[in-house]
């Protein structure tokens, strides 16, 4: 093995392999993932070549320095603050997600209601001044507020399972 081959191996070998080749590691800890020249061959070269030996040692040293350097970098924020924010934010997101689900449900219910009314309208004889549309899970039976549609308009009043939210759907046309 010459210096070039030795360094080529050193550039890709795992730290464990290099440590093993330097005799710094027990055999059972040596990695075998990289196809490398035999350690004996490498060791023979390193014994005669101080520069390759230095490079191998420097690689291991740099590896340790990098690991130590990264270990020193830790979050700067206080843990207690981070946990409080995490907890609050997680709960908030859960609520928002639930609201979104409800909102999709409401929209679906409204759409279903409008389609139903339209189909009645097209058949004639069904007046839609103010109708409570019942959609499973989203429409309550509480009293809907009285709503007057403008002339030539119809209105659908939908209560949702959120008592603060009532949907008014105005649309053109008046079924007779």
């Amino acid at each position: 093995m010459n210096c070039r081959e030795c360094r080529d191996w050193l550039l890709e070998a795992s730290p464990l392999e290099i440590a093993g080749a330097l005799g710094e590691l027990s055999a059972d800890r040596r990695a075998d993932a990289v196809e490398s020249p035999s350690e004996a061959e490498w060791r023979e070269h390193a014994q005669a070549c101080a520069s390759c030996l230095t490079l191998a040692e420097r690689i291991l040293e740099a590896q340790e320095e990098l690991a130590a350097g990264l270990e020193l970098l830790t979050p700067v924020g206080r843990l207690a603050d981070a946990l409080a924010v995490a907890s609050r934010e997680a709960v908030g997101r859960r609520r928002r997600a639930r609201r979104r689900r409800v909102s999709w449900g409401t929209t679906a219910a409204v759409a279903a209601g409008v389609l139903m009314i339209r189909s009645f309208d097209s058949g004639g004889g069904f007046r839609t001044d103010s109708i409570d549309v019942v959609a499973r899970g989203y429409i309550g039976s509480a009293l809907a507020p009285e709503v007057e549609a403008l002339l030539d308009e119809s209105v659908v009043v939908l209560e949702t399972d959120d008592e603060d939210v009532v949907v008014f759907w105005f649309y053109q046309g008046r079924g007779e």
Binding site: L11, S14, L66
Partner: protein
């Protein structure tokens, strides 16, 4: 009832409690993993501030998503994917914000808000600082992750590949490239390297 002794069992016990809404258990869990989460986020993003944000985002996702952890995968493997997703989200947000800032900067509506570079405290030598900077700034994210998991944290290549969602052969490619990139510089800096070696 006897307390579980095995660390793995202890961890699952803790997760179960946290999942059931025990805030103390969540706190213990988060405290135990926060530094590791930050480290993964840092290696993923390559930026101290993004890593800080990603750590916070990952804690939120951990809080919300613990219920989704089925226990089929190892907790760390699952958590690693949570952190990677959080980091990706933070980087997307940061990129959007940068684009917006750039747009305003071009139009002169806003002053540049680029923060001064943070000083990394506690690093004793310039050499270590240089190594960390090179690692974070010069290597692509995948190479950083591969090197961190395998060489620095001592994970097996198969486990590292699973965490990164790539094949082992791909992981090895990233790993070798990362090692070469980091070590090539040493060839220039180590004194006494000659090309005249023995045959």
């Amino acid at each position: 009832m006897t307390e579980p002794r095995n660390p793995e069992t202890e961890l699952l016990f803790l997760i179960r409690r946290a999942r059931a809404g025990d805030s103390q258990a969540f706190e213990t869990l988060a405290t135990a993993y926060r530094d590791r989460i930050y480290r993964w986020a840092l290696v993923r993003t390559g930026d101290l501030d993004d890593a800080e944000d990603a750590t916070q985002e990952a804690l939120v996702r951990l809080h919300r998503g613990l219920r989704k952890f089925s226990g089929k995968a190892r907790f760390e493997t699952w958590l690693y994917s949570v952190v990677r997703n959080a980091a990706a989200e933070v980087q997307r947000r940061a990129a959007r914000s940068r684009r917006l800032n750039d747009r305003y900067a071009v139009q002169g509506a806003l002053p540049s808000t680029t923060a001064p570079p943070r000083v990394v405290e506690g690093l004793e030598t310039r050499r270590i600082e240089g190594l960390v900077k090179r690692f974070l700034q010069e290597l692509p994210a995948r190479q950083r992750e591969a090197m961190d998991l395998v060489d620095l944290q001592g994970l097996g290549q198969a486990e590292a590949a699973t965490r990164l969602g790539i094949r082992s052969a791909t992981l090895r490619t990233h790993l070798f490239r990362a090692r070469r990139a980091m070590r090539n510089r040493l060839l220039e800096t180590v004194p006494g390297i000659e090309e005249t070696g023995t045959e």
